[in-house]
């Protein structure tokens, strides 16, 4: 049986050029270890990060009379994709807006709203608040409506606190499975018009959005009281929604970072849209938070990790390219000699590939073994520097193994391209120079 010439030269080269190969292997191993380590690191979600995520996105309350706000919510992909949403549909509940206005003899207010309406409403709302001595703690406007209101919430921090007796507590979400009660107060006008009394139960239709599924549900609400003339406040129709953006995604930092940054940016987007559409946005956990502060800092950290990962990958590629070219240049004489001894140009290229892929496999295997040590070191340093983020090594060894295989395949392609392109002409040229 013939001996394999590639195996023979592989062994001879590895033995005779061991210093060269050791240096190449060491450089590649370190880079590979760095890359695997970064990919292996995961953000540890609980504790500080969760708190941060809650601060920035966990729950917001939106209220508005403008249908545009609700359309914005419904059409916002981030709501459908990342959030659990409860949207209580007020239409058909007790009275439509137009019905109320007709009762009050204010048909003049029926019709599309203009910018002036909003401005006037805002001024009027501020005036009312001042008169009643209450500080709503909110900004914006309220639609001038008769003393008829429908309350569906909820937040004890809210300016509606005087009229709320809901069992819903902070952070609860309106879902089908969430057992809570909803209390209503209605105006005398509404009570007379509908023939309702205190203690009556009305069925309130509402939609529950969870992920991409929508289901219509009914909720029984008890009318807790009839409010009389003493109620002079004007309340907007409210929609209460809660959602969670800071979804916990276990995965390599680059992918995790990508999803998180995307969510955060989408979150910012929706808040901006809501505000532009005239909705008032409350942050359940931190009403005074200016979302940009925390979010920007968080994004910087995530992008920094993301950037480091790409930087290492770029370094790996560039060093790999450099090493292959250096080796080919250094060994042109060797390949030219093999050619005079009867090896074809293709076989010379093949031998280069075999040499490098073998070396890379060894380097990556070493890097793979080194990565846990590096992960441990990075954990220590990182967690000291950034108190908001905890890094931890991924428990999914299989994923790292997958990366290892991907790296081998990836670098094999690079080596293949580098040694195939112009290889034959380089050898002939090298031979001519030597001769």
């Amino acid at each position: 049986m013939k001996d394999n010439k590639f195996l023979h030269f592989l062994k001879t080269e590895m033995r005779t050029q061991k210093t060269t190969w050791l240096i190449y292997t060491a450089i590649l191993a370190v880079l590979c270890a760095a890359l695997i380590s970064i990919v292996a690191l995961s953000v540890e979600v609980p504790d500080e990060l969760t708190e941060l995520a809650c601060d920035m996105t966990n729950q917001i309350t939106v209220e508005s009379t403008d249908p545009e706000v609700f359309r914005t919510l419904e059409n916002c992909p981030v709501v459908m994709e990342y959030m659990n949403l409860c949207y209580v549909d007020i239409e058909g509940l007790l009275l439509h807006e137009e019905d109320i206005l007709k009762i009050m003899g204010r048909e003049d207010l029926i019709g599309p709203l203009t910018d002036d309406d909003w401005t006037d409403a805002g001024n009027e709302a501020e005036g009312n608040n001042a008169d009643s001595g209450e500080d709503s703690g909110t900004e914006g406007f309220m639609l001038p409506m008769p003393d008829t209101f429908i309350m569906l919430n909820i937040d004890p921090e809210d300016y509606l606190i005087d009229y709320i007796n809901a069992s819903v507590t902070e952070g609860d979400m309106y879902t089908k499975d969430c057992n809570h009660e909803l209390y209503l107060w209605i105006s005398r006008d509404v009570a007379e018009y509908r023939g309702l009394h205190t203690g009556d139960v009305v069925t309130v239709p509402y939609n529950v959005y969870s992920g991409k599924k929508v289901s219509s549900e009914n909720m029984d609400c008890v009318i807790k009281g009839i409010l009389g003339d003493e109620v002079s406040e004007i309340f907007p129709i409210q929609c209460v929604m809660t959602y969670e953006v800071g979804r916990r995604i276990q995965g390599p930092i680059p992918f995790q970072a990508n999803v998180r940054v995307k969510s955060i940016l989408q979150y910012n987007n929706i808040v901006t849209k809501l505000r532009k559409a005239g909705g008032m946005v409350y942050f359940a956990y931190d009403p005074e938070m200016t979302e940009n502060d925390s979010i920007t800092g968080y994004i910087y950290i995530i992008y920094a990790l993301y950037g480091v990962c790409f930087l290492v990958l770029l370094m790996l590629v560039s060093v790999l390219v450099m090493l292959v070219r250096m080796y080919v240049s250094k060994r042109t004489r060797f390949f030219a000699m093999l050619r005079t001894a009867g090896m074809s140009g293709k076989d010379c290229s093949r031998l280069t590939r075999i040499l490098f892929v073998t070396s890379l496999t060894v380097a990556f295997a070493v890097g793979f073994g080194l990565s846990p040590v590096i992960v441990s070191l990075v954990n220590d340093v990182f967690n000291e520097q950034f108190i908001l983020c905890n890094l931890s090594s991924s428990p999914f060894a299989l994923r790292n193994l997958g990366l290892f295989v991907c790296l081998i395949a990836f670098t094999a392609v690079i080596v293949w391209i580098l040694t195939a392109k112009n290889r034959r002409s380089e050898i002939v040229e090298g031979l001519r120079r030597e001769l």
């Binding site: 049986m1 013939k2 001996d3 010439k5 023979h8 030269f9 001879t12 005779t16 050029q17 004489r333 060797f334 030219a336 000699m337 093999l338 050619r339 005079t340 001894a341 009867g342 090896m343 074809s344 140009g345 293709k346 076989d347 034959r424 002939v428 031979l431 001519r432 030597e434 001769l435």
Partner: protein, 225 residues
């Protein structure tokens, strides 16, 4: 039918847009067991001719025939096999792998030819003995003297029992004593049936050949011009 023949071979190098005709309509032939020397000054085109004849370079015009077959019709793979089986090369600058031992350098063409390890070992040892380097076979070639390196080159050239050995200034880096040894080896090779085509600028070395040809400005003739 000649062993190796070229007809009307022209080779033009286009360096920096200034075309240079290294070979100009060269024709020649060499028979089996013949020892031929081509003499010429540096830059006369003799090395280029050797490269073209040895299929290391391709002529711009003309044809090269090996045992009557036009080599330009052969694929790269076929040419490689032919180089391996039928050609041996000896160069002035030795062209040895310095990190390999004498044994490994001599063994190289046999490995490429796919010869079995046991046969390879036997043939390699035989060749090393032929060139008188038995006691140096495990030395890296970078530690050898010039004469020893050239003898290693010759042993490597003979590894696959070639039909022809092409030698480019084989004694260019050697003293007279070593040159004489190399010439003796070439004579032995020719007597064993392989042709030897040697290019040199040294007329004393050329005088050892059966036939001398002269090269000047890319043209070849049987008589000194």
């Amino acid at each position: 039918m000649s062993l190796l023949e070229c007809k009307g071979v022209t080779r033009i190098f286009d360096a920096n847009s200034a075309a240079f005709k290294a070979l100009d309509d060269v024709s020649m032939s060499i028979e089996e067991g013949e020892f031929v020397a081509i003499v010429g000054r540096s830059g006369s085109g003799k090395s280029t001719l050797l490269n073209v004849l040895g299929m290391l370079d391709v002529p711009d015009e003309g044809e090269v025939l090996f045992e009557g077959v036009n080599v330009s019709t052969m694929s790269d793979k076929e040419k490689s096999v032919l180089r391996n089986k039928s050609f041996g090369y000896v160069f002035q600058s030795f062209f040895l792998e310095p990190e390999y031992t004498v044994y490994e350098n001599v063994e190289m063409p046999l490995v490429i030819a796919g010869v079995k390890a046991s046969e390879r070992d036997e043939r390699t040892r035989e060749l090393i003995e032929l060139v008188g380097l038995n006691d140096r076979k495990d030395q890296k070639t970078k530690k050898l003297s010039g004469g020893e390196k050239q003898r290693t080159c010759i042993a490597r050239a003979l590894a696959c029992k070639p039909s022809i050995v092409l030698a480019d200034e084989p004694c260019g880096n050697l003293d007279s004593a070593n040159s004489a040894e190399i010439m003796k080896l070439f004579r032995v090779i020719a007597e064993q049936g392989s042709a030897v085509l040697m290019v040199t600028h040294n007329e004393d070395d050329a005088a050892k050949a059966d036939r001398i040809m002269y090269m000047k400005d890319g043209s070849l003739s049987d008589e000194r011009q």
